[in-house]
Symmetry: C2
Subunit: 356 residues, 2 copies
């Protein structure tokens, strides 16, 4: 993984590097509630309710507003198809450099209380409709509007070092086919995206971010059009190879573990203490680089050439083959298929085991 | 997380424990290829091709067959809607207690070579159709037939300690609503499943399993019906509360890191060295327990009560509040909303900072 990432990074460093853009940083949360009154009346009253809820949240949002964040949107969703009399307060947040989970959840729980108070007290509500059940109030890890885009590009003719133009074109075409398959076939899409998150999670874990949140959001994003699909895209146009990823991704660099755990602090320092937006870009870069390395290997030498080195080493460990005998075994298996039985067989029959 | 899991485990230990069943352990992989000949002819020839491919793989599968595994299926998929002249060899594998990634990839790469040889040599193929392009040969992390089911159940009336039957019923109804929402609303589904993987990943990482593979497969599985959906389910019937999870999940307990890394070995030892099937069940149990704890908190006290303890502690760290002053601050905020500004304000204005 590390070797593959380093390889991809070096490859693109010579070809203009990685380009990145943050398209949004909106985070989300919902108050899920039931109310037995008239839905249209509620929609009419919502401007007034919205006002009250935001006012009641003001003490909670003060600090975040000072930093340039706060509650950026609040909508009412009427969803009787999910449960009878069921609604959502769908809230949007800007949490700047913080992950903001506690901030968002505190605001949402306050909104739930305020909403119940509104129904209890408002003159616009008839007495038989004063009951409001808050089912739950909780942030969503699905943040499709917290969105980052990363791409690499170079002339197709410059794609491979020391190869002919025709070879570069053949490589580009093979790469394109692999990307197309990952977009349209779920078996390949899952493995493709898994490889993307190999890169992303390594950096997310290192910086103390919640990788389960990043995974859940990213994979749900991959299924947003009704079929689970690969997250990377390739365009070949006017002789240019352009490989890109668009990803829904929410992170923080202050609060949480990032600012507390010594290893996370060190990782952040190595990255020159990026902002949350910068970290979003770095994460997506790690994802794209990881995918580039995997697809490049897959459509050229095959994934096993690299894996097999590791596999052979694992098998030799299990067979407890002494260090000084290993080079010869590695040599022997350079052009052969590695399996436990093949290595064991060679180890026993080659005389290597019993030699000096 | 650990507290929540321990809590859920204790809760269900008194109510019959967790029930688990492995419904399948099939792993998958594909050879992606293009061939310009007639698709119907290829389908007719496939029995013969299949035979040749399996024969050629025999040296690779020998060891795995001794353990009771091997190649369990091989199908031809005709997929011109994805790419012109595009096919898949769709192979199924049983890898017993191994993750089997190297085994599967080696078999697939061999199948690719054998397939090319077949086209090159077979008398049934006309000379203009001898070319076959292997796009890639690679396992799939999507394993919908590697499937585990876990459930807990108890009488609704026994759901809460020391509560009336009516309170138990109200809790069950609220829990049911939350589960229903997670199944039908993507914002909630993502967060719900994220919480499930909080439990699963902790155990996957501890046992040296590849959590990105488990995440990718699980989330794609969550979107298999065209909409990303919650993975847990609740049935209330005849006074019984039955909470369950069905999960596609592929793991290994031999080979890879599990048998090599000292911490993974220790974790496996603590688990009494489970088989792969047993580990599948344990992982799904961790997922269901984690989700139970989260939903229980959400529909009763709210998620923030637990989170806020941690949040307050983080804030006090940032404000560098001395240990001996912390208990008083914790007391003060027991019934108040925690935010950075509120804690800072109280710290400055309460006189606590300047006392003793």
């Amino acid at each position: 993984m590390v070797a593959a990432l380093g390889n991809a990074a070096g490859f693109w460093a010579k070809r203009g590097g990685f380009h990145a853009e943050v398209l949004g940083t909106e985070k989300k949360g919902q108050v899920h509630f039931k109310w037995g009154g008239n839905a249209e009346q509620l929609q009419l009253l919502f401007l007034e309710i919205r006002e009250k809820l935001l006012t009641d949240c003001a003490p909670l949002t003060e600090k975040m507003e000072e930093r340039g964040g706060g509650i950026t949107g609040l909508e009412l969703k009427v969803l009787p198809n999910i449960l009878p009399n069921y609604y959502q307060l769908d809230a949007s947040f800007e949490t700047c450099d913080a992950m903001g989970a506690n901030f968002i959840n505190s605001c949402l729980e306050q909104m739930g209380k305020s909403l119940q108070n509104y129904f209890r007290e408002s003159k616009a509500i008839s007495d038989c409709d004063r009951e409001c059940e808050i089912i739950m109030a909780i942030l969503s890890n699905y943040t499709p509007e917290s969105h980052v885009k990363v791409w690499v590009e170079c002339p197709v003719s410059n794609l491979l070092d020391g190869n002919t133009e025709a070879e570069c074109e053949a490589f580009a075409r093979r790469f394109e086919q692999a990307v197309r398959i990952s977009q349209l076939d779920v078996s390949r899409a899952v493995t493709n995206n898994k490889g993307i998150f190999n890169g992303i999670d390594a950096l997310a874990v290192a910086t103390g971010n919640d990788f389960r949140a990043i995974e859940a959001c990213g994979h749900a994003f991959a299924s947003r059009n009704g079929q689970y699909s690969g997250l990377t895209d390739l365009q070949i146009q006017d002789g240019k190879f352009r490989f890109s990823i668009g990803l829904a991704l929410a992170v923080g660099v202050i609060g949480g573990v990032t600012a507390v755990h010594p290893m996370a602090k060190l990782a952040m320092k190595i990255l020159d203490n990026p902002s949350a937006k910068e970290l979003m870009m770095y994460l997506a870069v790690a994802g794209l680089a990881s995918n580039f390395a995997a697809v490049k290997a897959l459509v050229s030498v095959g994934i096993q050439k690299g894996h097999m080195k590791m596999h052979l080493s694992n098998i030799m460990n299990q067979l407890q083959i002494p260090e000084e005998k290993r080079a010869e075994i590695q040599d022997y298996f350079r052009d052969k298929t590695v399996s436990f039985s093949a290595v064991e067989e060679y180890w026993k029959s080659s005389g290597l085991r019993d030699s000096g």
